[in-house]
Structures are given as structure tokens and as C-alpha cells.
């Protein structure tokens, strides 16, 4: 994700150079192109052996579903994954960038990455862009200090939580978590609860839909269950092609070529006087 040095302002952070011009354009009625948002339900919870992350798979562009089966659980490190809500480009870019930074850090230290390291990289970047990088993340992983689950907001604030939800479907998913979560869940119970919460978002929120992705991270192992549940299959596919009703009669199967009314002279000289 490195950019050419001269494009980036000297010390990082948000460059306010174009704000005046943007304000002037906005006053004249120029609208920003609508960016693709993920309109999402993402969740995470801590169970007895680690962390389970879950996400739906619908990406929206305003009222249209742009991608029916996108991936919202991003890789950061072998033991750390991150779900992203908000602008799809922002979540992709930020998680890719921090993943590279963590990789370099691992080479430098020779140790497994810690979740708080990823957290600090992410919050530092998001804060320096003052909320303009619209990425709301649920970060989860297991390192040698234990399982961790954090939420990160676009402006850079973070929370440490036993269970978390973000995105437009967060309220629907949080209703499920608040009523059913307890500490010390087993793996099956945890996956069941995460699936229920994502399904609640899928069926009760318009911005979320399609399938459920799950990622289970434990001390020595991670499992990425892509499309763990597909509660919205295409229900009817006709086995035969279109059939015309009996009332449709075929009158004629002869092909009559059209007679030319005007003789077309070869082009090329036509325009020249």
C-alpha cells in the first residue's frame, strides 16, 4: 500500500488543501459520487477458547446491492482478523495496510503479533484522518496474553468488549447478543449465537443480507468458515427453458429479406465535397 512520496503531504494526517474548492463546488450544486458502502452487520464475541467473528455478505451502493457475496472479514495476521463496516474501499485499504505493517513488525521483533498492536496501528491511522476514512471495525484475535475483542470507530476511538456489533444491522444483532450472551460459551454455542446475530441483521436490516461468514480464532488455530450459512438461496430455478402458452401460434417460418429503398454508395467520399 505504499504510495509515491511526492503525492503524500510531508507529515501525514489530513491535508485540508482542497476543502475550500470542495465547499465552493458543493455550493454550486456539484454532488460527490456516491461511494460504495457495506451497509453491514458485523459481530464478534469472546468464547471460552478464543474469539469468533461474524459478518454478512451484502455490499450496497445506495439502494442497489452491488455485491451479493462480498468478504467482510479481513486478514491482519495469522492470529488476528478484522471485520469492516462503512466504506468498502476504506475498510479494505486500511486492513491491508495494517496487515503489511504487522508483517514488517513481526520480522522486526521475531514474535507473534499482538492484538493491541493491530489496534494501535488502526486507531493511529483513523484518528489522523479525523473520521474521513469511514471504516468501523471489529478487531479480534488471540495472542499469548489471551483472546481480545475490540471495536474501532471511524474517528479513532476504541472499546474493549466481551461482545460487539457494528454496522447498520448492529442494533438487530446487539438485541440478540444482549439477551443471550454469557461468558464461557463453547465453540458450538458461540458459532450458533454469532449466526443468530448475523441472521437477525440479515432479516431485520435492509442494508445487510445474503450469507453468513464466520471466523473462529483460538490459541493455535484459526478457521475461516466462508458462507457458513446461506439462508437466502435462489428458491426457484426453472428446469426447462421458457415455454410458450398453447395460445401462441406460429404463423410463418419464412424469412423475407428487406428490400432496400435507397442505394447505398460506398462511404469514404460521401463527406468530401
Amino acid at each position: 500500500m505504499s504510495k509515491v512520496a511526492m503525492d503524500v503531504p510531508a507529515k501525514g494526517g489530513f491535508s485540508f488543501d482542497l476543502c475550500k474548492r470542495n465547499a465552493m463546488l458543493a455550493k454550486d450544486g456539484v454532488q460527490l459520487p456516491p461511494f460504495r458502502k457495506t451497509g453491514t452487520t458485523i459481530v464478534g464475541l469472546i468464547f471460552q477458547d478464543g474469539v469468533i467473528l461474524g459478518a454478512d455478505t451484502r455490499a450496497t451502493e445506495g439502494p442497489i446491492v452491488a455485491d451479493k457475496n462480498c468478504e467482510k472479514i479481513h486478514y491482519l495476521a495469522p492470529n488476528i482478523y478484522c471485520c469492516g463496516a462503512g466504506t468498502a474501499a476504506d475498510t479494505e485499504a486500511v486492513t491491508d495496510m495494517v496487515s503489511s505493517q504487522l508483517n514488517l513488525h513481526r520480522y522486526h521483533t521475531g514474535r507473534q503479533s499482538r492484538v493491541v498492536t493491530a489496534l494501535t496501528y488502526l486507531k493511529k491511522h483513523l484518528f489522523s484522518y479525523q473520521g474521513h476514512v469511514s471504516a468501523a471495525l471489529v478487531l479480534g484475535g488471540v495472542d499469548f496474553t489471551g483472546p481480545h475483542l475490540h471495536t474501532i470507530y471511524p474517528h479513532g476511538s476504541t472499546d474493549t468488549l466481551p461482545f460487539a456489533t457494528m454496522g447498520s444491522g448492529s442494533l438487530a444483532a446487539m438485541a440478540i447478543f444482549e439477551s443471550k450472551y454469557k461468558e464461557g460459551l463453547t465453540r458450538e454455542e458461540g458459532i450458533q449465537l454469532v449466526t443468530e446475530a448475523i441472521c437477525s441483521g440479515i432479516f431485520n436490516d435492509l442494508g445487510s443480507g445474503s450469507n453468513v461468514d464466520i471466523c473462529v480464532i483460538t490459541k493455535d488455530n484459526k478457521e475461516y468458515l466462508r458462507n457458513h450459512l446461506q439462508p437466502n438461496p435462489r428458491t426457484y430455478v426453472s428446469p426447462k427453458q421458457y415455454s410458450f402458452t398453447k395460445k401462441t401460434e406460429v404463423l410463418l417460418t419464412k424469412i423475407t429479406p428487406l428490400k432496400e429503398k435507397v442505394e447505398v454508395i460506398q462511404a469514404g467520399d460521401a463527406m468530401e465535397e
Partner: protein, 241 residues
């Protein structure tokens, strides 16, 4: 007897619509959650009246009985709710004066309230409420709601305000026909507990009202038990010392 309007002078006079408009609510109540169960309707609301972001009134009764057959619950502007109760009072009084043994059922009152709310909205002077109407008449249970713009519908379970986002997913998942009274109360309390955790204007003091063909009972105010002992709350940064 003049026309049936509740306040004959005010509604007709020309200056009324110009100067008197509800622009924003002041003292508001938060969500109301209700569901149909085997014997009737259960409706729950907390007792908080917020003045903007200040929790000003903590004993506001937001669920009231109407006549013999109905319960009404309201979220939104409290003064407009009191106005609605005044209109309904007038309505039931006029009806009782006919003295024909007939009493207004929930469907009739729902219909009346829909007309009132929609007409007020058309005059740009809405009653800033979401009203939940439930009742039992002639063995039939009925549960419906009207919002401040006049949207009205009837369903097996209703939630207003924040309950739309937090309680409705739970009710859609777990409501079923022929709930017993205990199960119905447990389900309502589950919804109210989530609202208590996640709605900033909720208070931990609620009343549950029950209406069956026998009549109305509104419980005394009580609180829900909450749990805050997660290890991530107690020690959010293990290993970072």
C-alpha cells in the same frame, strides 16, 4: 349538540394553524413494546419522561386503560399523549351517554386515533406520538399502532421508538401463537432489558399492563435485574500492563 370535534373553537379558527405548530417534542417517553398472548395483550413501557437529554420525570405512566376493552401506550411527547387521552375521554363519554349497552372496542378506537393523527399531520400540527392500541372484545384480541404521521397497522407484536430496532428482531424470532402469561412476560422483559442496556433514554422502572376479557391490570412499577460482571469490563487490558 354541536359537531363531534373535541375543541370546537380552536380547530375552526383561522389563526390556529398558523401560530400553533408542534415543531419538536420537549418531554418525551421512549419505547413501548406489546404482544398478543393466549388470553389477551401484554404491554410494557418504562416510566421515564426525558426533557431533552435530561431525565426529568421518573414516574410517568405511559400505559393507560381506555374503557373496558382497551389499553393505550404512547411514546413521544407526553403532553400530546395527555391530549390524546382527553380526546378519548370525550369520545367514551359521548358514547356512554347513548346508554345502549355498547362500548367502544379496540378496533374502533384504533380507527378513531388513526383519523385524528392523520388529520393533524395534514395540518402540519402533529401529535408527536407513536400510540400502541391493544384490547380484547367479544373474544377477539387486537393489537395495533398509529404513528405521528398517521401510519397505522395491526400485528401480533408491536414496538415503538428504539424498540423498532432492538425489540422487533427478538419478537420476530421468539414470538409464537398461544404464549402463556409467564412466557409473554418473560419475552417482554427480555426486550425491555435490551432496551435498558442500549437506549440512552430508558430508565430501569417499568410497568407491564395486561388486558384479557376479564379486564385490565397494570402492574406496580418494578425494576429489571442487570448484569455488568463481564471480565472484559473488569479488566479490559490484560497483558498490556
Amino acid at each position: 349538540m354541536e359537531s363531534n370535534s373535541a375543541k370546537p373553537g380552536l380547530l375552526c379558527s383561522p389563526e390556529a394553524s398558523q401560530s400553533q405548530r408542534t415543531m419538536y417534542p420537549y418531554v418525551t417517553g421512549t419505547s413501548v413494546v406489546a404482544l398478543k398472548y393466549k388470553d389477551g395483550i401484554l404491554m410494557a413501557a418504562d416510566m421515564g419522561g426525558s426533557y431533552g437529554s435530561s431525565l426529568r420525570y421518573k414516574s410517568v405512566e405511559r400505559v393507560k386503560p381506555i374503557g373496558k376493552h382497551c389499553l393505550i401506550g404512547a411514546s413521544g411527547e407526553i403532553s400530546d399523549f395527555q391530549e390524546v387521552l382527553y380526546y378519548l375521554d370525550e369520545l367514551t363519554l359521548n358514547d356512554n351517554m347513548c346508554d345502549d349497552g355498547n362500548s367502544l372496542g379496540p378496533k374502533e378506537i384504533h380507527s378513531y386515533l388513526t383519523r385524528v393523527m392523520y388529520n393533524r399531520r395534514n395540518k402540519f400540527d402533529p401529535l408527536w406520538n407513536s400510540l400502541v392500541l391493544g384490547g380484547v372484545k367479544n373474544g377477539q384480541t387486537y393489537l395495533g399502532m398509529v404513528t405521528m404521521i398517521g401510519v397505522n397497522f395491526e400485528d401480533n407484536h408491536i414496538a415503538t421508538g428504539f424498540g423498532n430496532h432492538l425489540a422487533r428482531p427478538i419478537l420476530r424470532d421468539e414470538w409464537r401463537e398461544d404464549l402463556s402469561f409467564e412466557d409473554g412476560v418473560k419475552l417482554l422483559e427480555k426486550c425491555m432489558r435490551v432496551l435498558l442496556y442500549r437506549d440512552r433514554s430508558a430508565v430501569n422502572k417499568l410497568q407491564i399492563a395486561n388486558i384479557t376479557k376479564e379486564g385490565v391490570t397494570i402492574s406496580k412499577p418494578y425494576s429489571l435485574r442487570t448484569f455488568w460482571g463481564f471480565s472484559a469490563f473488569i479488566n479490559p487490558t490484560p497483558g498490556a500492563q
